[in-house]
């Protein structure tokens, strides 16, 4: 929605309209995925398809959540920051579903095979690093934790840059043939991190 409109909205409109709308927009892909699953639209290899789609959704949500701070700078409005937590938590939600599908459906909790994958496949390693970083970020996302951790909260949550880099590396390393999508994400990430780097130098 246009920034001017958002900033003119009374607080009630923000709480009752904007946030729920963004929530629904983030949840719709999950509902569509469930619908596709139950209607058979995921095809003969639903495990691979679910893994692909939840992974892509997690990357997109993470990149969108990282785009909100630069968006504030560009628009000179503060409303994007108020969506950061929700988008970050959705990114974690999709990552959690993605990892669960890998562990439970793909590997069927075969610990030996999972361990071998982790040690021998750089893309699994990168994905694991990203997910392990996201866990404490999601756990410390409440207002209470922000207050309690103070400055340490900010330091901890800078970990999201590393998680985002690891997740893009994860995708670049596993792609076969068609590399356009992973490199688009890599480009977007570089712009988003580059923006912060330039601000830091100034």
């Amino acid at each position: 929605m246009p920034a001017a409109v958002a900033d003119r909205l009374p607080a009630l409109g923000w709480q009752s309209v904007v946030k729920p709308s963004v929530f629904i927009a983030c949840a719709v892909p999950f509902l569509l995925l469930l619908q596709a699953l139950f209607s058979g639209a995921l095809g003969p290899n639903p495990i691979d398809e679910l893994t692909d789609r939840t992974g892509t959704l997690a990357i997109r949500m993470l990149l969108i959540s990282l785009a909100l701070t630069p968006l504030r700078g560009v628009l000179k409005k503060t409303w994007p920051l108020r969506l950061r937590r929700m988008l970050g938590l959705f990114a974690f939600f999709y990552a959690f579903v993605h990892v669960s599908i890998y562990l439970v459906l793909d590997q069927q909790l075969a610990l030996g095979a999972i361990w071998e994958d982790l040690l021998e496949r750089p893309y699994i390693m990168a994905g694991t690093v990203a997910f392990l970083i996201l866990i404490p970020l999601a756990m410390t996302s409440t207002r209470g934790m922000v207050r309690r951790l103070g400055k340490r909260w900010l330091a901890l949550h800078r970990g999201v840059y590393l998680a985002a880099a690891a997740v893009v590396v994860h995708y670049v390393l596993l792609a076969k043939g068609d590399l356009v999508e992973p490199f688009v994400y890599l480009g977007v990430l570089m712009v988003l991190l580059g923006y912060r780097f330039v601000r830091l130098l100034r």
Binding site: L37, G40, G43, P44, I47, D117, P122, Y123
Partner: protein, 321 residues
């Protein structure tokens, strides 16, 4: 009785019994499949015309459960039609297969441009049920219709300089995948002469007793069951006999990852992912049971080692992967 069966210690009597057993099973499977697909509206391009020729049974067939026709015709890698698994069936109608001819050239005594009819006419059509193992760690069991490539090769009389056979896929400018350079077109594949002459290596023009659907590589494709699926080149327009090893598409794209031989080998991991196990796509599409399908161990040479291992005697298969 074939020589390789003697080598593998298979008696003719076993084969006969097995064939009878399979034919009954096959009938049951076919009627069950018809019952299921009757409920699901298949895309037009997934419904082939029945073959006109009689189809002979083959002793090369496996008795494993067939993947459903819907699975085999809707989940494909055919990058000329797009990189998504659903793209080939979605854009199948864009591939023009009539008229079709194949250029046969290089080190042979009867080079020329052969129409599809010229190529197919002298050959008895067999049904061969082969395992198909994709490099992406999934597999299917597919009833191909066709004949041994060796029978065509003998007709065109390769000379003594012919050490390799190279194949090319058609390039049609309005195919959606051709507009993007995911691979360098035309798609190219190749076999060593002894691999090409091996009786398991076939040219297929149908599946499930029907004409080859476009998304599966109509009208004529290669099937090499002990190699990763990408070696089984689709929609062939050129067959060349060569003295030197020909360039092949995936090898050109990423030589460390895809070798010329590309034999199925669980001991030789793809540098980025494991090849030790595979998921069999049997194909009750729409059923949630596919979510709980467990992976099985991948077999050396995709389970055809008894027949083909001697082709690679003394070779370092890690190096020549």
């Amino acid at each position: 009785m074939r020589d390789w069966m003697k080598l593998a210690g298979i008696r003719s009597s076993e084969i006969t019994d097995e064939k009878l057993f399979r034919q009954r099973r096959h009938l049951l499977q076919a009627s069950a499949a018809a019952g299921v697909t009757g409920l699901i509206a298949l895309p037009a391009s997934a419904q082939g015309k029945p073959l006109e020729q009689p189809v002979l049974k083959s002793e090369f067939s496996t008795t494993e459960e067939l993947s459903s026709k819907e699975t085999v015709t809707t989940y494909n890698n055919f990058y000329e039609l797009g990189t998504d698994k659903g793209d080939p069936v979605r854009y199948a109608d864009r591939l023009k297969t009539e008229p079709w001819s194949v250029t046969i050239d290089g080190e042979c005594d009867k080079p020329g441009v052969y129409t599809l009819e010229d190529i197919l006419k002298p050959h008895a059509i067999e049904e061969r049920i082969y395992r198909m193992r994709c490099v992406e760690a999934w597999s299917m069991v597919i009833p191909w219709n066709g004949f041994s490539l060796a029978d065509l090769i003998k007709r065109v009389e390769p000379n003594s300089r012919a050490k390799y056979v190279a194949f090319e896929t058609v390039v049609q400018d309005d195919l959606p995948g051709i507009k993007r350079n995911v691979l360098e077109w035309p798609y190219r594949e190749g076999l060593r002469m002894d691999e090409a002459m091996h009786p398991l290596t076939m040219l297929a023009m149908g599946i499930y007793g029907e004409q080859m659907p476009n998304q599966n590589g109509a009208p004529l494709r290669l099937v090499v069951p002990w190699k990763y699926g990408y070696k089984s080149i689709k929609s062939i327009v050129r067959i060349s006999f060569m003295e030197e090893q020909p360039p092949t598409s995936w090898n050109m794209s990423a030589p460390q990852e895809y070798g010329f031989y590309s034999n199925v080998n669980p001991e030789r991991s793809h540098p980025r992912w494991s090849q030790a196990r595979e998921r069999r796509l049997s194909g009750d599409t729409g059923g949630l049971s596919a979510l709980f399908a467990s992976k099985s161990d991948t077999l050396f040479m995709n389970g055809y080692a008894d027949e083909v291992a001697e082709l690679y005697a003394g070779m370092d298969l890690q190096k020549f992967h």
